[in-house]
């Protein structure tokens, strides 16, 4: 599809749900959560899910938090609308 919208993915690991001294650079054995992001020119969507460092697997059913930013109205990513019902259908579609 010539008009398929390119997507960029990134990810970041965390040792816990709240900031700890090693939240920036957790060692592999301490990683409990992985934040997977997909972004297009229109939005950035991130899902923070459970992660098992012994088998490197993410559990997409174990959702710890989510982020959704719309680039057009919020280019600085200041307003996370993940929990907004207005976009509930969009989030469900992603999931």
């Amino acid at each position: 599809d010539d008009h398929e919208e390119p997507i960029a993915f990134s990810q970041y690991p965390r040792p816990a749900d709240i900031p700890e001294w090693d939240s920036d650079k957790p060692e592999l054995k301490d990683i409990k959560i992985m934040g997977y992001s997909m972004r297009t020119v229109d939005y950035r969507y991130t899902l923070w899910v459970g992660f098992n460092p012994s088998n490197f697997s993410a559990n997409l059913q174990d959702v710890h938090a989510g982020e959704l930013y719309m680039v057009g109205s919020d280019p600085s990513e200041d307003h996370n609308i993940y929990n907004s019902t207005l976009h509930g259908n969009l989030v469900k579609k992603f999931l």
Partner: protein
């Protein structure tokens, strides 16, 4: 383009705070000049906003879930799979491959050897002044030397009387001269250390950024709707002596406003210092007469937060932490060939150069650093590694990022049309 050399330049922790990305404050005339002869990607992203995982990812063309490197403590060839790297692929295709400065992250993540000899024809070069980067070389208000975050220095007074990036440029120039004489195809990777912390740079660069011109981030508070798990508490910043003295509370801070301005001022000064080194390197390419047959790629391992969302440093999925500059100069394709005697990259002094508008081929297409492998292979006329199967732990040569050469002729107008189409 068959047989073109490759000059692969990577900066450390550089967000697109550059004139060619529309930043009106930052003085970066040499990178802007490179941009004016390049295709510039406005929306390029790293795969993980921390050094070792990002570099191993883009150098192997695999995502962190495939390199299985999320921290600094494993070597992908033994921990995940014996994946080829970009320089290894060029080496296996007849190129002399050379590494100067920080290309791979040093340490176990590159087997304490920068992946030599797999990736490089010669032992990688590291500047001797590198070992003083975190030493107490920053003069404080008390007249004593400290390991500060904000660290303008008199280069004549620091150990060895030089800085790592200056040494890297000198070594790269030396290697270019040798390559010119030997007439061998080469892949030269130059990894600059700045603007990574400490923000240590020649003090004269402060003059480019009077403190009264430095603003705070437009959104310096932690957003209320931000999940706690998404927040990075910028521990590396807190550990510097000048920040420790501020007694900033953990985890949310904030840093006092006057010090926020000083951090931003020094980050921009470090970017301009980096720009001069890139300018001298490109000028050397002109000097040896190789600008007409060398592809130049410029990027960074990831971005850096400058106070946005109450955050500093990288370590997050925010745009400011993951977005990077990315540009490719391809002689005869992104810019016309130089005529005899014409210079493509004359050095521009940021202290005297008056910036003009940057006419560059820009595209808004969303791209990823994991695509560098296939893109450089295609640009150099090599066989493009195939797309990886899923999983690909057993496959030595494949890539998880498609070539982005298809976007080189994409204009901003076409991008806008495509975006409108997609939105509909």
């Amino acid at each position: 383009q068959d047989g073109m050399n490759v000059l692969f330049i990577v900066a450390d922790d550089l967000r697109p705070a550059l004139g060619c990305y529309g930043d009106s404050l930052v003085k970066s005339p040499n990178i802007d000049q490179l941009a004016s002869r390049s295709v510039v990607f406005q929306n390029a992203y790293a795969q993980q906003a921390v050094c070792a995982p990002s570099r191993v990812s883009f150098l192997t063309g695999r995502r962190p879930d495939t390199t299985r490197l999320y921290d600094f403590h494993s070597y992908w060839r033994v921990h995940a799979g014996n994946y080829s790297t970009i320089p290894q692929y060029f080496k296996e295709n007849g190129y002399t491959t050379m590494s100067v400065g920080k290309v791979f992250h040093p340490g176990i993540s590159s087997n304490h050897s920068d992946d030599y000899p797999y990736s490089w024809s010669l032992p990688p070069f590291h500047p001797s002044a590198e070992k003083y980067e975190n030493s107490k070389t920053c003069k404080g208000k008390d007249g004593e030397l400290h390991a500060n975050l904000v660290c303008p220095v008199d280069v004549a007074e620091v150990p060895l009387g030089t800085l790592p990036d200056i040494q890297s440029t000198e070594e790269a120039r030396r290697l270019l001269n040798i390559m010119k004489i030997k007439k061998r195809k080469f892949f030269l990777a130059v990894g600059y250390h700045k603007p990574h912390i400490p923000l240590r740079y020649p003090q004269e660069f402060l003059k480019l950024y009077p403190l009264e011109n430095i603003t705070l981030a437009p959104d310096p508070r932690v957003p209320e709707e931000l999940p706690a798990v998404a927040y990075n508490p910028w521990m590396d910043i807190r550990q510097r002596e000048d920040v420790q003295a501020l007694n900033v509370s953990f985890p949310y801070g904030p840093i006092p406003e006057d010090f926020q301005r000083q951090i931003r001022q020094s980050y921009f000064a470090a970017v301009s210092y980096l720009d001069t080194q890139v300018g001298l390197l490109l000028n050397a390419l002109d000097d040896v007469g190789l600008s007409n047959n060398t592809i130049v790629m410029f990027t960074a391992d990831h971005g850096w937060s400058l106070g946005e969302h109450g955050e500093w440093a990288k370590y997050s999925n925010f745009d400011v932490a993951t977005r990077v500059p990315l540009m490719f100069y391809v002689p005869g394709k992104t810019s016309s060939f130089a005529r005899p005697g014409e210079r493509i990259f004359p050095y521009l002094d940021p202290f005297t150069h008056i910036s003009d508008s940057v006419a560059a081929g820009k595209t808004k297409k969303m791209v990823e650093l994991v695509s560098l492998f296939s893109t450089l292979a295609e640009l150099a006329g090599l066989w493009v590694p195939p797309v990886c199967p899923e999983p690909s732990f057993h496959v030595a040569l494949c890539t998880q990022g498609p070539s982005i050469v298809q976007y080189f002729n994409s204009t901003e107008e076409e991008d806008d049309y495509d975006n409108d189409y997609d939105t509909e």
